[in-house]
C-alpha cells in the first residue's frame, strides 16, 4: 500500500513509512494552531466568562460561569482582550489554510478511504478493540501497520466533526458573517448558542488531545514521535519474551 518499501532493522524489527510529509507538516502546524487558539480563546472568554444558550445573553441566568481563568492558561498571560483577539485571528487563518490543505489532500489522494475509513471487519472488532484499549494493550506486528478502529473513529470525529465545527461556530459569532451567512447562525441556534458550541467543541478538542498524548506516552512515545517527525514507524514482531 505504501509506495515506500519497508526497511528491516534487525530480527523482529521492521521500519515502515507511516506518515507522508504532508501529514507530518500539517499535524504539527495544526498542533501549534490549536494550542495558540485554545489559549487566546481563554483570554477572550475571560472578558465575559459566562455562557448562554439561544439568541442573546440572559445575564441573570448563564448556564455556566467561570470564576477565574488563570494566567498560565491564557495568551497573553496578562489580561488583554485586544491582543488575545490578534493572536486568535492570526492563528485562525493558519488553522483554516492548513486544515484545508490537509483535507483536500487526504480526499484527493484516497488516503481518507485507505487509512481512515473503518472497514466492516473494523466495526466487527469494535468491542475487542475497546477491551484492548481498556487494558492498555496495543497492537503489535502486522496489526500495528494500520490504525485500529478506535483510532480511525476518533481521528475522523476530530477531522471531519470537531475541527470544522470550531470554524463554523467561530464564524457564526461574527456580525459581518451573520449578515453574509444568516443560515449558519440559525442552524446553530443563535449567536449565544454558537458561542457555547464554540466553547464545547474546544473542550472536546482539549479532551481529545489529552487522551491522544496519553496514549502516545503509553504505547511507545519515541516510536510515535519519530514517526510523526521522520515518517518512519518501527514494528516489532511479538516474541516469546514479550508474552512472558
Amino acid at each position: 500500500m505504501s509506495p515506500v518499501a519497508d526497511r528491516t532493522l534487525g530480527p523482529g524489527r521492521t521500519a515502515t513509512y507511516r506518515h507522508p510529509w504532508l501529514v507530518r507538516v500539517t499535524h504539527w502546524v495544526n498542533a501549534l494552531c490549536i494550542a495558540v487558539l485554545v489559549m487566546s480563546g481563554l483570554q477572550i472568554l475571560k472578558a465575559h466568562p459566562h455562557l448562554y444558550w439561544g439568541l442573546a445573553s440572559t445575564f441573570a441566568d448563564p448556564w455556566v460561569s467561570f470564576p477565574d481563568i488563570p494566567g498560565w492558561a491564557t495568551l497573553p498571560s496578562w489580561r488583554d482582550l485586544a491582543l488575545g483577539r490578534r493572536w486568535h485571528f492570526f492563528f485562525a487563518w493558519l488553522f483554516v489554510l492548513n486544515g484545508a490543505l490537509y483535507l483536500v489532500w487526504v480526499v484527493l489522494s484516497g488516503r481518507v478511504r485507505r487509512v481512515l475509513e473503518p472497514t466492516r471487519e473494523d466495526f466487527a472488532g469494535l468491542g475487542r478493540s475497546l477491551g484492548e484499549h481498556a487494558r492498555l494493550r496495543f497492537p503489535e506486528g502486522e496489526a500495528a501497520r494500520r490504525y485500529n478502529v478506535i483510532q480511525k473513529l476518533s481521528y475522523l470525529t476530530v477531522l471531519l466533526g470537531l475541527l470544522p465545527l470550531m470554524l463554523a461556530t467561530g464564524l457564526a459569532m461574527s456580525p459581518a458573517m451573520n449578515a453574509a451567512l444568516p443560515g449558519l447562525l440559525e442552524l446553530l441556534g443563535g449567536r449565544q448558542s454558537a458561542r457555547t458550541l464554540h466553547f464545547l467543541s474546544a473542550a472536546g478538542l482539549v479532551l481529545f488531545t489529552v487522551v491522544h498524548v496519553l496514549l502516545v506516552l503509553l504505547s511507545g512515545p519515541a516510536n510515535h514521535l519519530r514517526a510523526m517527525i521522520t515518517g518512519w514507524y518501527v514494528i516489532r514482531e511479538p516474541t516469546r519474551e514479550d508474552e512472558s
Binding site: L83, A176, M177, G220, P221
Partner: protein
C-alpha cells in the same frame, strides 16, 4: 517504556512546554511581533467585506427583544455642554455635519426625525462576547450624508462624541469611524429611539450610531458631530477610534 523513551519525553517536554508559554508572552510584548500578528487584519477585513457586501444583518421579532439590554462604556457623560443639553431634554441639541461635505449642516432632533427613518430589531454583539437584542428607530445616515453632499475625496465618516471613559479633565473623548460602504448601508442609522421609548441616556441619548454588521464598540453613543474625512490618521492616535487606538481592530466584523 524504555529509558530512551523517558529521556526523549523529558527533553521534549522541556523543549516544547515551558518555553512555549514564555515565548508567547515575549512575542506578545514585542511591537514587531505584534505587527506580524496584526498582519492578518487586512486579510480578515477584505475577506469579510468580499463576502458581506450589501447583505443585511439578521433582524429579529418583538418577542426576542432583551429585557436586560446591557449598557457598556460610558453611561452618564460628565461633559458640561452635554449636561446642559440633557437638562433641557435635548431641545437645544444640534448635530453638526462637517468636513469634506458640500453643505455643512446643523440639525435638530426634530429635523432629523423628519428625514428618512428606519426601525429595526437587531442584535448587539459586544467584543467581550455577550449579545443583547434591541429595537432601534433612527434617521438613516445615508439621508444625512446625501443632504450634506459628500465631496469626492471623502472616504470615512468620523463620529465625535460627548463622552469620555476617563471623566477627569483631559480624558480622551470617545470617537469612532466607519467606511462609506457601511455609512450608506440600509441598516446604518443614527438612532434616537430604543424599544419604542426615547433613547435612554445610558444607551447614548440623544443620538447613537447603529452599524449592525460590526461589534458594539463601533456603535458610537452621545454623538456630537459627524465629519467626513479622507483619512483619520490626524485624529486621536490615528487608528480611527477610541478602542482602535488601544489595539482593537478598525473593521470590527468579527
Amino acid at each position: 517504556m524504555t529509558d530512551t523513551d523517558r529521556r526523549e519525553l523529558v527533553v521534549g517536554g522541556l523543549l516544547a512546554g515551558l518555553p512555549l508559554l514564555t515565548a508567547c508572552d515575549a512575542v506578545s510584548g514585542s511591537p514587531r511581533a505584534q505587527g506580524v500578528l496584526q498582519g492578518a487584519e487586512p486579510l480578515t477585513r477584505r475577506a469579510q467585506r468580499a463576502l458581506v457586501r450589501n447583505a443585511l444583518a439578521p433582524e429579529y421579532a418583538e418577542r426576542d427583544i432583551s429585557p436586560d439590554f446591557r449598557a457598556n462604556g460610558s453611561v452618564d457623560p460628565a461633559d458640561a455642554e452635554y449636561r446642559r443639553l440633557r437638562a433641557d431634554g435635548f431641545r437645544g441639541y444640534r448635530l453638526q455635519v462637517a468636513g469634506l461635505v458640500e453643505r455643512p449642516l446643523s440639525l435638530s432632533l426634530v429635523e432629523l426625525a423628519a428625514m428618512a427613518t428606519r426601525t429595526q430589531i437587531t442584535k448587539h454583539d459586544c467584543v467581550e462576547g455577550w449579545t443583547s437584542i434591541g429595537k432601534w428607530t433612527g434617521t438613516r445616515l445615508s439621508a444625512v450624508l446625501d443632504r450634506a453632499g459628500l465631496r469626492p475625496e471623502a472616504r470615512f465618516i468620523v463620529f465625535d462624541c460627548f463622552d469620555a471613559l476617563d471623566q477627569r479633565p483631559g480624558g480622551e473623548r470617545y470617537y469612532e469611524s466607519i467606511g462609506l460602504d457601511d455609512a450608506f448601508h440600509e441598516q446604518t442609522i443614527l438612532a434616537w429611539r430604543m424599544n419604542d421609548q426615547p433613547l435612554p441616556v445610558r444607551h447614548g441619548a440623544p443620538l447613537r450610531l447603529r452599524v449592525e454588521r460590526q461589534l458594539g464598540y463601533k456603535h458610537a453613543k452621545y454623538i456630537r458631530r459627524i465629519e467626513a474625512v479622507a483619512s483619520f490618521s490626524h485624529i486621536g492616535r490615528g487608528k480611527g477610534g477610541y478602542w482602535e487606538d488601544r489595539g482593537y481592530e478598525w473593521y470590527a466584523g468579527i
